[in-house]
Symmetry: C2
Subunit: 306 residues, 2 copies
């Protein structure tokens, strides 16, 4: 039937660029508008944080579409953002701080890496912004993680780029005079997942975070920190960088087990932003001990994919 | 953007007619073919059971489309099935035994009831099959449940229809000479959910089923029976008739609690056929203690609905 073909999702990539502007609404709107006006792309979400002075724009489309939309928004960002007068809580290197490409459906990580490299080349050629590649698109091990790349921040860029270890992947080793540097890469979809504890003792959350995060010997592909939630509870705030390696239920159960050592229970957990259907289905599958549960048994998934 | 409107799911109804043929493949193919050839309808699944001598055809579309497809398949069933030579394990009243309409998206139960009544009228007008309305479309309380309507089966129809309590909702009180009677209705999506126990003692499964099913004072909107699974385990086989009343996790936990009284654990559970996304998300939400989890946070759901 023709209808089936029409519904087929050919190639779907999520792009989640972070820009160094979280306060001036007209600037944020201009960035989002540049995305929205790009054919073949759909704007999903715009999140601005005033204290971070940073916004995150989420959109989807095919590889070609999201790359064009990211470039269009970057053009506006270079026009409207001057890093020399930027201040905010969140570490950053440039006006277009980071552009991750995330394969969702019908596209390989390899293809996203290739597209990220091409997008980086275009940022230099058209806008004269030097580019680092990160995550799956990194050209060397020490450029995989954003915290490593961001050391010294925008203000430290002239010294950083002069270091032979930190020559940009694309462009000359001098930051753009107002837009700094951009980090471009490809990564799996990340799940921002917080677990709130039945205690206000943030120190316990910090100890649990240390126990569960990969960097201190915990769960693979998990970043974690202990913070206070807006409601005042101790919170273990995590990024699940690869939910096929460490699924949501395993992060939950690891926090639960560590919390028990401190005599503390889990109050609740929360997903911040988007979560893939497969990650939700996997949690249901594990807790219900479902035998041979197939994503195609979910009515809406079946409707969408054929 | 125009694309958003194209993706909007306007009106989606599932139709799951049961026909009294589970052995003759050409007949089953003819019934499924009648559905597949109806514009605006998409065939999802065809399940035939030889011992039941019965097949279940699942398809979706808008109300108008699924009604036309059901009528087209009924036409073929009247041509090809003679109830006077039909035998099978499953209770049945007619060649087109039952036609349920199930609202999925963008359509009310009320609209499905209206469509079921119109479909019943068409079955009589065109094919001279008397019709009972059941479930949400029932015209009186004793016609809500299929087991009540099916008492006496096809062979008992002449006597049944002569009973003033069992005058058909549409048509004359005489069964169609070869196709009997059809039951048409509207109901919520049903989840077929089985829990396998770590025991081969079917008697325990039967006692658990009795404790959890609505008809003997258990969970609302749950039908349950104890049987032996194909792998030889004791199995509590359930229909969750309204997962918004009794969700999957509550059925699981009720079986778990009852099993514990017999010193038995749950081995695994299984969903037979389709399950709505909301039911899967609810199970994940409950087990992960997710705070304010919104279906729109599931990437694929967000992509589908806008």
């Amino acid at each position: 039937m023709q209808r089936r073909r029409d519904r087929h999702v050919a190639q779907l990539v999520e792009c989640v660029p972070n820009f160094s502007e979280g306060r001036r609404r007209p600037v944020i709107d201009a960035l989002a508008g540049a995305v929205e006006q790009t054919p073949g792309v759909r704007l999903l979400d715009v999140q601005a944080d005033e204290s971070h002075n940073r916004c995150v724009i989420s959109f989807i489309g095919d590889l070609d579409g999201v790359a064009r939309a990211a470039l269009a928004a970057a053009r506006r960002a270079v026009d409207l953002i001057d890093m020399n007068v930027h201040a905010g809580e969140h570490p950053r290197l440039g006006a277009v701080d980071v552009i991750p490409l995330v394969p969702i459906a019908g596209v390989s990580m390899e293809a996203c890496i290739t597209a990220a490299r091409a997008l980086g080349a275009a940022l230099w050629q058209e806008l004269r912004i030097p580019v680092f590649f990160y995550a799956e698109a990194a050209t060397r091990a020490q450029r995989r993680r954003l915290p490593d790349i961001r050391k010294g921040e925008y203000e430290g860029l002239p010294a950083r780029l002069a270091d032979p270890d930190w020559v940009p992947d694309v462009g000359e080793p001098t930051p753009h005079p107002t837009a700094g540097v951009t980090v471009v890469g490809a990564r799996r979809m990340l799940i921002a997942y917080n677990v709130n504890l039945r205690t206000g003792d943030v120190d316990i959350a910090k100890r649990i975070a240390k126990a569960v995060r990969e960097s201190s010997g915990g769960l693979p592909a998990v970043q974690a920190m202990g913070v206070r939630s807006t409601a005042g509870q101790a919170q273990v705030s995590m990024n699940l960088l690869d939910y096929t390696t460490t699924p949501v239920h395993r992060a939950y159960e690891a926090v639960q087990a560590e919390a028990a050592r401190h005599g503390v229970e889990i109050l609740e957990s929360e997903v911040v932003g988007l979560i893939p259907l497969d990650a939700v289905a996997e949690a249901a599958r594990v807790f219900l001990r479902l035998r041979s549960f197939d994503r195609q048994q979910i009515l809406e998934a079946k409707l969408m994919e054929e």
